[in-house]
């Protein structure tokens, strides 16, 4: 579309600088291309309104909500470790797991409340129970889960009320996996293309990521003699996380692109390297009697899990900001239906 050629005898031909193109992809040149990155698929042809996004992007703050996803996973899987260690007679593994679960879930609640537009009204979350709202389900889950982790940790530290402590530990272990995986539904139950389209795989990614984070914390804090289950959990969790994430990106189509570009891409590559490296170090730490290996494994696993959550979060925000990811798949859907 060229410039104005308005009247008889008047202005004719293009007038550079006065173009206001629409229809064709236009106006959006903000996207920073990472060094040496190649788009996975050719640029799609589509129309948009001056390149403006169709969706309103999430207003959530990355530190609060991605941090919450991470801490919730860390807490949930730590509760599993705590219960297993309690049953298997590994008190030195159980204590950091219980403290980790209680600390992480407390911090995550702080992050959640901090992210509210009206923090003073956070109790309104408990006004109704709505299965159609993952945030409502999650709020009720946390109301049940957080006190259990705190009770389990308190009983362990105090060394009293053994029975109540065990019951709380068991209860937390029952709710823990739900706390770790419901956050995937929280993200997927939106119109954000890169979150919604991955709803079949994202819970498994988050489950694996939760396992690696919890085992990382346990490896760093528990003596090597009792950390065997954590080492195995690290390896299994890493396999689940990396495998499910690969599968997800393969199934997403165009919505996989935000995971392969810019900051999310860097975060997710780091997550992959840290998680795989951390799992390898974790297995190694079972053979060499050097505390530093276990510490390095723990640090790598904890930061790898965090990088994954921040990467997934940011990729979703990016996919909401570009109309391409909303319009093109919907157009393809219509074409497939023959309209």
């Amino acid at each position: 579309m060229s410039g104005s050629d308005v009247t008889r005898d008047g202005v004719e031909g293009g007038r550079p600088g006065r173009e206001a193109p629409t229809g064709a992809r236009a106006g959006r040149r903000r996207r920073r291309r990472g060094r040496g990155e190649q788009p996975m698929v050719p640029e799609a042809e589509f129309s948009s309104y001056y390149g403006k996004p169709v969706l309103n992007k999430p207003t959530w703050k990355a530190l609060d909500i991605a941090g919450y996803l991470y801490l919730g996973g860390l807490a949930g899987a730590s509760s599993l470790l705590a219960a297993g260690a309690g049953l298997g007679g590994r008190p030195a593994l159980a204590r950091p797991a219980k403290l980790g679960a209680a600390g992480a879930i407390s911090l995550s609640l702080v992050a959640l409340v901090h992210d509210l537009g009206r923090p003073a009204r956070f109790l309104n979350m408990l006004r109704v129970f709505k299965p159609t709202s993952p945030m409502s389900v999650g709020s009720w889950l946390l109301v049940g889960y957080a006190p259990l982790t705190l009770a389990a940790a308190a009983a362990d530290v105090a060394g009293r009320y053994r029975l109540a402590g065990s019951a709380a530990t068991a209860g937390a272990a029952v709710l823990g996996p739900a706390v770790a995986t419901y956050t995937a539904v929280l993200l997927s139950d939106t119109a954000v293309p890169s979150w919604h389209e991955g709803y079949r795989q994202l819970p498994y990614v988050f489950a694996g990521s939760a396992a690696t984070a919890a085992s990382g914390l346990a490896l760093a804090a528990a003596p090597a003699g009792q950390a065997g289950p954590a080492r195995r959990m690290a390896a299994l969790g890493a396999a689940l996380e990396l495998g499910a994430f690969r599968l997800m990106k393969g199934r997403l189509g165009l919505a996989a692109e935000p995971y392969e570009r810019g900051r999310p891409h860097r975060l997710l590559r780091a997550a992959e390297a840290l998680t795989a490296g951390g799992a390898a170090l974790a297995l190694l730490s079972g053979r060499v009697r050097d505390r530093r290996v276990a510490l390095a494994a723990g640090a790598a696993l904890l930061s790898g899990s965090a990088a994954l959550r921040f990467g997934v979060f940011q990729a979703g925000v990016d996919s909401a900001e570009d109309p391409k990811y909303t319009v093109v798949p919907q157009r393809e859907r219509l074409a497939a239906r023959g309209r």
């Binding site: 207003t59 109704v128 498994y204």
Partner: protein
């Protein structure tokens, strides 16, 4: 605004069974036994003149705060989109296309407009309703009808302006309402979707849930805001401020059933008159959100106006999401059990 607490109490559980597909009795499903007919908007963009009276009327009536006076430089559109502080948004689109039967470059010096008006059975003093749009076949002599001439005599392509006033769609299956954890968003007896500002705690979940990018969080206030379809005015039998202010009746308010009939005949008439691009958007109860309470007559693809071509309410897949999350939780527990199985030494 006087939010209705009955609606809140019944909105959640009663709707839970039907997350997707046609829902003829929206208010009934939300727990109103004797609901009035579902009300909505039909925005006929073919007669929109881009005056923005709707934007102004909406801001005035609802006391929506000013949200920055930014000149975009892209078009006459400085509102840019719907959000917490823009509940109506007029889009401006310039295109190199003719508008229906317009004939560029034709000189009309020999047309006696008064004679043409007399043919329509109206006089200049009091033009009757619809006087400017004669039914096909009844067009006065000399008036262009039924043909598109894409290129003017001197060879240049023609230009048209599309203007469209966008608004909250008040979906049959509203994702914002479904995901709201506090019950602040509720279904009214008119079948519309409204935020209760005294309940909303600003969690922001509704914002990315909306497939149209309508609702948003007000920055300094923290809560989510959007069009209420003037719930307060509806309650006393008045039409919403934007529809009232619209000088061309591009925004039409009324019972949804009636609006759908009117829209169907309007789009047929436009097509017969040569406006082959005319199409309805959001009127079908079979679409991904079960049909919009506010639907549109568009003259181009929806995405040209910044609308999603095939929106789907995200909660359609929610049962499946819960299933996958439950399986993943079981997998995580199994993974932990496996980790604790003592290997033989």
């Amino acid at each position: 605004m006087t939010p209705d607490d009955d609606g809140t109490a019944s909105a959640g559980p009663a709707r839970g069974h039907l997350l997707y597909g046609p829902q003829p009795d929206v208010a009934g499903a939300a727990g109103y036994p004797d609901a009035p007919p579902r009300m909505g908007f039909f925005t006929d963009t073919s007669v929109c003149i881009g005056c923005k009276a709707c934007e102004v009327a909406c801001k005035e009536w609802n006391a929506v705060p000013e949200d920055g006076l930014e000149l975009t430089g892209m078009s006459y559109d400085n509102t840019q989109g719907l959000g917490a502080d823009s509940w109506r948004h007029v889009a401006f689109i310039e295109q190199r296309k003719p508008f229906g039967g317009q004939e560029p470059g034709v000189v009309h010096e020999d047309v006696d407009v008064f004679a043409a008006a007399a043919d329509l059975g109206t006089d200049a003093g009091s033009p009757g309703p619809g006087a400017t749009a004669p039914p096909p076949g009844a067009a006065p002599a000399g008036a262009p009808a039924g043909e598109i001439s894409p290129v003017s005599p001197d060879g240049r392509t023609e230009l048209r302006w599309l203007m469209a006033s966008d608004v909250c769609k008040h979906c049959t299956h509203a994702a914002c309402l479904d995901v709201c954890p506090t019950g602040a968003l509720f279904r009214t007896e008119f079948g519309t979707v409204v935020v209760q500002e005294d309940i909303c705690n600003g969690c922001g979940y509704c914002v990315p849930a909306c497939p149209y990018g309508v609702i948003d969080q007000r920055k300094d206030d923290g809560r989510a805001w959007k069009c209420t379809l003037c719930y307060d005015r509806l309650g006393v039998g008045m039409e919403p401020a934007c529809a009232k202010a619209c000088p061309t009746d591009s925004i039409q308010f009324g019972p949804l059933e009636e609006l759908r009939e009117r829209a169907a005949s309007r789009v047929t008439r436009l097509r017969e008159a040569g406006v082959t691009d005319a199409r309805l958007y959001g009127e079908s109860p079979d679409d991904g959100v079960g049909g919009d309470g506010a639907f549109f007559l568009l003259l181009d693809e929806p995405e040209v106006y910044g609308l999603p071509p095939d929106p789907v309410v995200t909660t359609r897949d929610l049962p499946d999401m819960w299933r996958h999350a439950a399986l993943a939780a079981v997998s995580l527990a199994a993974l932990a059990v496996t980790s604790f199985v003592r290997r033989p030494r």
